[in-house]
Subunit: 217 residues, 2 copies
DNA sequence: AATTTATTTTTAGTATTACTAAAAATATGG
DNA sequence: CCATATTTTTAGTAATACTAAAAATAAATT
């Protein structure tokens, strides 16, 4: 008997079970209820949460749905991607605080309407909700962020993008543990080369509160 | 015998197989090579890519690794009317020839002026000189290209960018030995959602890189 | 054209494991 | 304490993930 098949085992998701459990606890749900909601058995939930077994994609999808969470949230991977930063000679400058730095990409010429910049955001940093004219696009070069547009929350990871009208109230949050680099492209003049009033209507508690003292690891 | 378990089936990921295939094609890899890299069999790859079976999480992880992509990229859930695109769930389509493929990033809504797309260019390929209205920006995600703008020649490598008025005659050339991936962003409607004639020839037939006549199940 | 050779699809079968149901264990609390 | 809710364990099966090899298709070569 040849036994040359490689054991990939639970290499898939480091602590998928733990994540599922954490989420369930966060929602204060019982195994029974999520089992029902997902059409699975309690015992199985227990096994999955403790990593004794790995759910199928279908079950994981049901599980994620029962927990009202995106399936990919449970599958963080140590990203084997390369990241050579040889984009030399671009000076990064920070405005206001040191949590964010910018690398300007676009130039400005007469009548230019297109602006682009790479934004580096430190872990935990939030971009306050804002609304203005024009439209914009993000492309995640590295790391991951949470984007909220008029209540809709999306998680963007490396390679993902989003395109929307700037007038819709939007905010971002680097929920990850590493710096997020976002390639921003839009029609609004973010550099102030031309007068462009940023209508900042940041209401105090308009945004959902993320940190509830949860001990995230 | 009770048969009350609901068939969630391939509800997990709408077109996970298609995504995997698209990514493989994009990297110009053969089933054999990814099978080897992932420690799986060719036949199985075939089955997975056509949605005949669903890989386990472990296998999916191996597969993602073999394709140098984050696992979550393949598991994007259909969220309500989002304008988000996720890597690998974006289907690349090629126009005219197979030397170039595109991954559309931007959507189009009323009055949208911003368009973005990722362009993959094979080594040696040239983009013919062109001039049109608007402005545009390149950002090199991978590989390197030579850009010529009104006689001025520039070499752009990973992480570099360029921004210019589209009316200036411009052309690009992948002088490197690997596929160049360029994030393109501009004000011209390259997708034809609105009337904007590009250098398009008489063949508006967009040939998907997929097998013609996919047998949908 | 044929005849290679590479690449993908199909087929059939097995070994793995995802999953269940029910019983033990552990906690919760009145 | 007792009663109930919740989680863990156990044992077994039904499903399917996966393989190996053959058939089919496509792509080169002569």
């Amino acid at each position: 008997m040849l036994k040359n098949n490689i054991q990939v085992k639970d290499n898939a998701a480091p602590d998928l079970g733990a994540s599922l459990r954490a989420k369930r606890k966060e929602l204060k749900l019982t195994m029974q209820s999520v089992a029902d909601a997902a059409g699975l058995s309690v015992g199985f939930i227990s096994q999955v949460e403790r990593g004794l077994t790995s759910p199928s994609l279908g079950s994981l999808a049901s599980l994620a749905a029962a927990l009202d969470t995106e399936i990919s949230s449970f599958l963080h991977q140590p990203s084997a991607g390369s990241q050579t930063t040889h984009e030399a000679s671009r000076l990064a400058y920070s405005v206001a605080d040191a949590d964010v730095s910018y690398e300007r990409l676009s130039t400005s010429f007469a009548g230019s309407k297109l602006h682009s910049v790479i934004v580096h955001e430190t872990p935990g940093h939030r971009m306050e909700p804002i609304s203005h004219h024009g439209e914009e696009m993000f492309y995640i070069l590295d790391g991951e962020i949470t984007v909220e547009i008029e209540g809709e929350v999306e998680v963007l990871r490396k390679g993902d993008s989003i395109h929307f009208e700037s007038r819709r109230v939007h905010s971002t949050w680097n929920h990850g543990s590493s710096i997020a680099s976002i390639l921003w492209c839009g029609t609004m003049d973010v550099f102030g080369d031309a007068p462009a009033p940023i209508h900042k209507k940041a209401s105090p508690q308009e945004v959902a509160t993320y940190p509830t003292g949860e001990t995230e690891k």
